[in-house]
């Protein structure tokens, strides 16, 4: 579990925040990258949230993939540990921070997406990612 908590010390309750510069994210498609570090959150002064696009630098990549280490890529945040409010008033949050690499037009570079994705992507017009997803939260 990502959140650490000792019963008596409520100061250690993790308050999850935005995805900003230097945030490491997991890559959940088969574009070849494994880990990616955010260098800019487009839209949002404090940072990116669930469903936003970011510019990132590839930190770790698989040897034969579409992207190499050190590439600057665009990505769409598909899972965020910070909760995001839904239009019906409830909130949703995921276990980790994950991103799907896209090109400038918003189309995914990879051909598969792993893990659950939120349906906030539909509103943001990332329909292609939704079709590739195996589970929509």
């Amino acid at each position: 579990m990502a959140t650490t908590m000792t019963c008596n010390n409520f100061l250690s309750l993790q308050q999850r925040t935005f995805i900003q510069m230097r945030t490491n994210l997991k890559v959940v498609d088969n574009s070849g990258a494994k880990r990616v570090m955010c260098i800019q959150a487009l839209k949002g002064k404090k940072g990116a949230r669930l469903g936003d696009t970011i510019i990132a630098s590839v930190k770790e990549a698989q040897p034969r993939g579409k992207v190499k280490k050190g590439d600057v890529v665009y990505g769409v945040v598909v899972r965020a540990a910070m909760q995001r409010g839904r239009c019906d008033g409830s909130e949703i949050k995921f276990d980790d921070n994950a991103v799907v690499l896209v090109n400038k037009q918003g189309e995914p570079i990879g051909t598969r997406v792993f893990g659950p994705v939120p349906h906030e992507l539909r509103k943001k017009k990332h329909v292609k990612i939704l079709t590739l997803a195996e589970h929509i939260a």
Partner: protein, 168 residues
């Protein structure tokens, strides 16, 4: 709109309340309030936490099997809207709730049966054994009004004499 159940305490989560947590294996946990959410983060097992429905059902404090629960099962096929059907369903919900509440009350009464008699017996026993904590035994022997009379008198008299030491 859908009324969900809290994963931890099994109460209904109405729209606009609560948090849903999606784990990476795509399992969704819904919580009705932060109390349940925090307990979940502490990795507590709801079957061991006394105030949850899971515990109560497991330890037979609440009804487990009843035909009224069948009506609340989750159905995944959406029904075509029919005004009559909706009206009848709403009326049925009211009636089923009433029946369920009655049955739960009866279950509770069955569980608590025999408690009154047990409490009375224990009180009488305690009175016999621990009266020395209230009044010294020497005093009790001298002042006969404080002992329980051995002779059977009329019921009303005995009641009055018994109540004396109890009041102390």
């Amino acid at each position: 709109m859908r009324l969900e159940k809290c994963w931890f305490c099994s109460s209904t989560v109405y729209p606009g309340h609560g948090i849903q947590f999606v784990r990476n294996d795509a399992k969704i946990f819904r919580f009705c309030r932060s109390k349940c959410h925090k307990n979940f983060k502490m990795k507590r097992n709801p079957r061991k936490v006394k105030w949850t429905k899971a515990y109560r059902r497991l330890h037979a404090k609440d009804m487990t099997q009843d035909s009224t629960f069948e009506f609340e099962r989750k159905r995944n096929r959406p029904e075509r809207y029919d005004r009559n059907l909706t009206e009848n369903t709403l009326k049925a919900i009211k009636k089923i709730d009433k029946v369920r509440v009655d049955r739960e009350a009866r279950h509770h009464a069955m569980r608590m049966k025999g408690k009154k008699a047990k409490v009375q017996r224990e009180a009488a026993k305690e009175l016999e054994q621990s009266i020395h904590m209230v009044k010294a035994p020497a005093v009790l022997r001298e002042d006969s009004s404080f002992t329980l009379p051995k002779i059977k008198v009329k019921a009303s008299h005995q009641q009055a004499e018994e109540n004396h030491p109890m009041e102390e």
